[in-house]
């Protein structure tokens, strides 16, 4: 067993784990954050995507001990408050970019990082950045639309701040 201390959504979570415990399982079972989903456990579907030090990674392909001392962001940390959704989440809601919602947290984590890298993406670039996250319900169309809507809103927000 190994002791770990991992910052998740700004809060330090401590635990004692077997080295083989997948990061996704630590996040879900020990940190109690079940927004991160396990769809395949072999690194293909992307439902388990979280951000490690700001970059999207597949949490089913990392051992918890490897995240010791690092910063993790999950979907639960996106909304600025209990009363307000993140701009991306709001756009997903309005554009019907989720149906069953299983793939959605992973997609939000991937897209939030993507929009930080590319605040003004073309639909083709969005589609390409999305290719590591599988969705069985939506056919991706509304997801691409929602990301475009969110990107525009976020550019306006950034513009009005500066």
């Amino acid at each position: 067993m190994r002791k770990v201390a991992i910052e998740i959504n700004g809060k330090l979570v401590e635990g004692e784990v077997e080295p083989r415990l997948l990061l996704a399982d630590f996040i879900r079972d020990q940190a109690g954050l079940t927004g991160t989903h396990l769809g395949c456990e072999h690194g293909v579907c992307g439902a388990c995507t979280v951000q490690l030090d700001g970059r999207p990674v597949r949490s089913c392909l990392m051992f918890t001990v490897q995240a010791n001392g690092h910063r993790i962001a999950t979907v639960e940390g996106m909304a600025p408050s209990a009363h307000e959704l993140h701009t991306l989440q709001q756009a997903f809601h309005e554009s019907h970019a989720l149906q069953c919602g299983f793939c959605t947290p992973g997609i939000l984590m991937t897209m939030e990082a993507f929009l930080r890298d590319e605040p003004n993406p073309t639909p083709a670039a969005i589609r390409s950045a999305l290719a590591g996250n599988l969705c069985r319900c939506t056919g991706y169309q509304n997801i691409v639309k929602a990301v475009g809507v969110a990107a525009e809103r976020m550019r306006k927000e950034a513009g009005s701040v500066s």
Binding site: C40, H42, V44, C45, H96, Q99, R127, S128, L130, A131, G132, N133, L134, C135, R136, C137, T138, G139, Y140, Q141, N142, I143, V144
Partner: protein
């Protein structure tokens, strides 16, 4: 749609679904069903295949081998939803609306490939190998 006979690749550029559903209860959900169904249709037509070896062992036993379409394989779909022929069998006139996205995709793409290659397509999925074989025929 484009076929590349030298690699067997099939690229769907544009796809349209026309669907009479009698009465639309929730247009947003209706369109979501068509879009999602279309993706499933693309999967079944081009990518998804349950393969077995001669002793019945499954060969496509993970998502690395059983291929689900990603955002790059599913273009936007043009949708025409009409309410011209409501069902006489219920007070709202609603008809089934969930499956129209999927139902015709295999036939439509299969026929498009036939048109492109001048050969009849009688089997799905159209894997790159099958497409190349059809192109060579």
């Amino acid at each position: 749609m484009e076929v590349d006979p030298k690699s067997g690749a099939v690229h769907v550029r544009r796809f349209a679904v026309a669907y009479d559903v009698g009465r639309v209860v929730n247009p947003m959900l209706m369109e979501g069903q068509i879009s999602g169904g279309f993706a499933q249709g693309i999967g079944g037509t081009l990518l998804e295949e349950f393969s077995f070896d001669s002793s019945g062992q499954p060969l496509a036993a993970s998502f690395m081998d059983y291929l689900l379409p990603t955002s790059e394989e599913v273009p936007d779909v043009d949708m025409l939803v009409t309410e011209d022929a409501p069902s006489p069998l219920n007070p709202l006139g609603v008809k089934g609306a969930g499956e129209g996205g999927t139902a015709a995709v295999g036939a439509a793409i299969g026929n498009a490939v036939s048109d492109a290659l001048g050969v009849e397509v009688t089997r799905l999925p159209l894997s790159p190998q099958r497409v190349m074989e059809l192109a060579g025929a």
